[in-house]
């Protein structure tokens, strides 16, 4: 299935939930969706016979300065096609529905996105830090992150 066909299927099924689509040469085509419908759309993409996205290749947190976001890279091992999905959430209330029930892979990916960007994945069963220590303050990959002066008495700056 070509990327245009996949976008067509999504627009037909979900209509307003699809915000925009971008197909440019030399770039990975992607589609923007509204955060409320993430779980429905992901389940649709996973379960439809002709889509069958059975593999969540990557789930990344993003900081767009004004807003935060999540990027999902999906791949179908059976049909050998791929799609990129993006969502944006406000920085003040970064709540995203969790898809850890759709693909188990998303469990640790979402924990990482929470750890690094402070995105709150609603519905995740064990949303704790995964890379930094549990008592770490702040979310390091945010653009406004300030490096700490010390951690447990260890000086951090050079």
């Amino acid at each position: 299935m070509t990327i245009e066909n996949i976008f067509e299927r999504l627009k037909k099924e979900f209509g307003d939930a699809i915000l925009s689509e971008t197909v440019e040469q030399n770039f990975e085509p992607f589609i923007r969706i509204s955060p409320q419908n993430v779980v429905d759309i992901m389940l649709f993409l996973r379960d439809e016979e002709d889509l069958k996205f059975d593999y969540l290749a990557c789930l990344s947190g993003m900081d767009y300065k004004e807003t935060l976001g999540v990027v999902y890279h999906l791949y179908s091992i059976q049909h050998k096609h791929r799609v990129t999905i993006k969502i944006e959430v406000p920085k003040e209330d970064p709540k995203v529905p969790s898809i850890s029930k759709v693909w188990r892979t998303a469990d640790w990916h979402e924990r990482e996105a929470y750890d690094m960007f402070g995105l709150i994945f609603v519905g995740h069963e064990n949303l704790i830090r995964i890379l930094t220590p549990y008592d770490w303050e702040g979310h390091p990959l945010r653009k406004d992150y300030k490096q700490p002066e010390e951690y447990h008495g260890l000086k951090v700056p050079y």
Binding site: P133, P140, V156
Partner: protein, 201 residues
């Protein structure tokens, strides 16, 4: 280097196979030639370190045997980036080792933070901030040959170390510094006790 150097100039008056030396020489010779290290790797330097262990470079010819426990090992090789999370564990491992103990810092990360020196919010900028280092091996990562050079330097250092009457051989300034440090620690402890009593009472 220590006792073995004297093999070339034996004590001729008594015979060609007599070597005169001190007990210290003998003990240091034993210590330098049977260093057991902790099999412990942190990051990509550990890969190079594994190469040193393998047949081509053969670390065992230095008398170094990997030990799985800090309680059995003589020295520890900090092979890789020391993150803040790991720094506490590294310190704990070092404290569990029995004296005499030595530390070899391998690679730029363990020496000074390496590529993470400026923006590494999670990296300890040099393992010498938590434990005392005897030998620094530069490189990113160091070649196995560089590591072997570090091993030779460590053996040199061990074979020259003082064992008996250490205090008497210290310089006056060093002894004064030790006394000052003792005093400062006592004061610190007194303050701590005072605080504890205040919290209790």
């Amino acid at each position: 280097m220590g006792l073995l150097d004297k093999l070339d100039k034996p004590f001729e008056y008594a015979g060609p196979d007599i070597v005169l030396g001190t007990i210290e020489d003998l003990l240091n010779w034993g210590r330098a030639k049977s260093d057991w290290y902790m099999s412990f790797g942190l990051a990509c330097c550990a890969i190079e370190f594994m190469a040193v262990n393998a047949a081509h470079f053969d670390l065992m010819r230095f008398g170094a045997i990997p030990r799985p426990s800090p309680r059995q090992s003589d020295f520890i090789i900090i092979s890789g980036t020391v993150t803040l999370k790991m720094a506490e564990r590294v310190k704990r491992l070092y404290e569990q080792m029995a004296e005499p103990k030595y530390v070899m810092s391998m690679g730029s990360c363990a020496n000074s933070g390496g590529p993470y020196w400026e923006h590494g919010y999670h990296v300890l900028k040099g393992v010498d901030r938590v434990i005392p280092v005897d030998v620094y091996v530069p490189g990113c990562p160091p070649r196995p040959e560089a590591f072997l050079e570090g091993m030779v330097r460590l053996q040199e250092k061990i074979s020259k170390q003082e064992i008996f009457r250490k205090r008497q051989k210290f310089s006056k300034e060093d002894l004064q510094a030790i006394e000052d440090r003792k005093k400062a620690m006592d004061e610190h402890f007194a303050k701590y006790l005072e605080l504890q009593n205040k919290l209790k009472g």
